[in-house]
Amino acid sequence: MQADEPGSLPKISITSLTRVFDTGGSRLAALGPVDLTVRPGEFVSIVGPSGCGKSTLLYMLGGFLQPSSGSLLADGRPITGPGVDRGIVFQEYALFPWLTVADNIAYGLRMKRMQAGELRDRVAAAIAMIGLGGFEHRFPRELSGGMKQRVALARTFIYDPQILLLDEPFGALDSQTRELMQDELLALWRSTGKTVLMVTHDVAEAVYLSNRVCVMSQRPGRVVAQFPISLDHDKGREAVMLSDQYRALHDQVWLEVRRQVGGKG
């Protein structure tokens, strides 16, 4: 609906997208049909029951999985495979266990062949941002779940992809760190104008961060409701989260998600 604004080519457009899995004889409809457009610079969240196909949707946007039917465009071009224009943060972190924290974060920049000096500075800055100073030379196995997740975020943000695909990126964090990282993400998004598509199960997080929250149905997941949101983040987190506007939106979304999880709708 909103993408039809004149003059703005949608950053992502998803049309009648479905995905079916072959599971040894039987076929499992995991997703769709989904229709969704995301404008450049928009921050869209997706919430829905677990197993409804949210990760599958992101995997297809990443170009790792092929759609069973429907079309997927990024910047107006069909998505045919992975590309550095779309950065993804996986629910499972997917860090490289043989690389240290610093080398994991530097990976994308190395692929871009960035010079050693600049690379070192950028990595140091990223490590400071995620509060992992002193852990540069640790291996992923030595980190807690929350630390790994922060490394995964930094690893993707640092090489500056136009589109960020985030799969429950704050799921493993304790609530303090989670709020900290949410605000970092918010600041990053506000200052860079990236397009963000985030999957989460945390309604408060979705409402707080996004321009728009999409609620999905049970598997095969479809977008059953969309809630446009415009909160004034200049006022700061406390003011936003205590505002009536935020609370009303939160309750609306929360009720819709409850309805979906309950299986109705």
Partner: protein, 262 residues
Amino acid sequence: MMTARGPRVVERIARLYPLLLLALLWEAVTRLHLVPPLFLPPLSVVLASLPQLLAQGDLAMPLLISLYRAAIGLVIAGVLGILLGLLIARVRWARLLFAPLVAFGAPAPKIAFLPVFILWFGIGHVSKIALVALTSIFPFIFAAQDGAEAVPRQQIWAAQAMGTGPWRLLAGVLLPAALPALFSGLRIALPYAIVTAFTAEMIAGGGGLGGALVMAQRYFETPTVYADIVVMLAVGYLLDIGLLALRHRWLRWQEESNDAPN
């Protein structure tokens, strides 16, 4: 330091009492003439012959030859086997082409190829190296394949999303991810390589410690036979220890040792 360490060393040595018992039994049985010395010379005689054999170069040279053959064969097997294993894990045509051949070749007793390799390469180094390579390639193939197939797909996707091309993916992501498995494969392949070199030399001659052992047996120098066996045993043992130390240094990033029982 010393006081803390001393008892531990003593304890460790004490735990080896069965070996000592066995050595004593060996010595006693032979000293009491319960078995003829041609069959089993006293342990002390075997051990006493070691320095002399070493001094004459009757041990070192053949051992070096055997180790050379084992090492070259192992390197060839490692390079080809790892490449094959990674390709089979990741590339469709490679799997179709090579997987059946590997499945058929893996259980075959490779020693049966010795006469074939002698025909092709003579009785010198090359036939032994070829047999070593053929024997020890399979643990590498399976290790590389298993290791690469066990990499979580999200890890591969993460690399692709950050602009990693197909070859880079093979060498920069799948290879390191498979490294722990490869080490376990190497730990299987290394004794295969050594045993195969010794065995091929025993059967086909052409020098090496295996050849020396058979010659000693032919001339009824039984203490030398035992001395050769002791050296083979020690070499295998030391190499395995060295390998474990190497893994400890290289694979610090790994969660836990994924040793196959062996």
